[in-house]
Amino acid sequence: MIDATDSFDAIIVGAGPAGSCAALSLAKAGKRVVLIERGPFPGSKNMYGGVVYPRILDSLIDQWWTDMPVQRWVTRRTTMLLTDTQAFSVDFRTAAWGQIPYNGATTYRPDFDSWLANKAEAAGAIVICGTTVTGLIRNSSGAVCGVTTDRGEGDLHAPVVVACDGVNSFLAKQAGLYTHDDASHFTLGAKETLSLPKEVIDERFGVRGLDGVDIEILGGTSGVSGGGFLYTNYDTIGVGVVLKLTQLAAQKQRPEQLIAALKSHPAIAPLVEGATLKEYSAHLIPEAGVAMMPTFVADGLLVAGDAAAMCLAAGIWLEGVNFAMASGMYAAEAIVEALALGDTSAKGLAGYVKRLESTFVLQDHRKLRRAPQLVLSDRVQHMYPHLVASVAERMFQVDNPLPKPGLRKIFAEERKRLGLRRRDLLKDAYDGFRSFG
């Protein structure tokens, strides 16, 4: 244990991807940094929907792919629309994503987060696990200047604190950086990690070696808005659901029941058949993007990663770890600047926001700001999977002696059958184009 009288240049709360990248970046810049984690080891509290996109690490860890704990490299991704009995898939694969510099990888978060924290430690950061930060310490002018912990004599002091304390960020809330606490901004992710022999995974998913598959699913969560996912690890698969919190109770369906329903869908069941549960897990997801983001900077305080709601949940793009890593790194860069100028006020730390604004972190979020709401809307959730699947079914069904009806006719009939107004369809198409175009 370190001496509490030690003083640091920065205190990082939470050794997830945001915190470890902040600590690594600061340590590399020669700063005295302490990284505090409440779990017994980094990543022990963390789970996610499966894929890390690590290219942001290029600037922090030379050839990160040589020792990053990887289950499989995602070389095949499928977007799947489900109704109760149908599945419509867009399936893409490329050999390029299985080669340097890679694209996305599946990995266990306890492995990945521990690896990243070890990098920070190796660069000179002090990593303290098993310690929960209980609050912020402020100086006489109200600036944050340290944290209290649940260890006796456990107060720590530094001119800057970075709150990387995850989706529930009590530190950002305590600091008043969130003006709202709206349940509709969150989804619940519940996942089963299922054991299957590697050879069986390779056969079922049509991959070899360390190539892997990521399937994002729309529909298949019964009446609850949300989605599903299924991805391959080396000798396990992850299958789970993402559920709109505010609809769970109304639908009277529990998370594990919805996972079971997804697993019994005719398109999913053959993929998970015979697999045994290795670990069940659950976590909240900050789903609403820009609409829910807090103020990022206060005097002596920055917020990064899930704590700043930087998860990108935009239907066909589901990312978060990359945003966390980048925001942690940019927080560190801004801190180095602020320390050099001797000004760690919100004004002195403004370089953080500038970096977020000028990079993918906020640019992707701004570009896709309409997407989360659109994706979770009733029509996208409950009507379009039916529309697409029914149109596809009639397109490919051979009803001889009847002639083929033609796409336009099928589409118009199915639209009417589902009670979809042309006006709403056009509006959603326009929103979709504005969101994703």
Partner: protein, 95 residues
């Protein structure tokens, strides 16, 4: 067929290092008057159990610390929510 397991068996796959004192305290007298009781359905660890007399029994021990209960709880003061003592609570597994 997929293999069916009980909820208890499901939770047995997760490691918990149980803190001596609870990190979540539920004022069940508030719950007794709650019309929605969304926690019963939403908690992924199924920790909120309705009783025959219309109350709720809560046990903090096998908790994911996800925050779902306090996000869905509409009743001010029903839940006091903190993280467990450092090193305690849920521990997801490394390979």
């Amino acid at each position: 067929m997929t293999i069916q397991i009980s909820f208890e068996e499901r939770m047995n796959t997760v490691e918990f290092r149980i803190d001596k004192s609870p990190h979540i305290i539920v004022d069940t007298s508030v719950c007794a008057t709650c019309p929605s009781r969304e926690c019963i359905i939403a908690c992924p660890a199924n920790l909120f159990v309705p009783t025959a007399d219309g109350g709720i029994v809560f046990n903090y021990e096998l908790c994911f610390e996800c925050g779902t209960c306090y996000m869905v709880c509409n009743n001010e003061g029903a839940l006091t929510w903190n993280y467990p003592l450092g090193g305690h609570g849920v521990v997801f597994h490394r390979t």
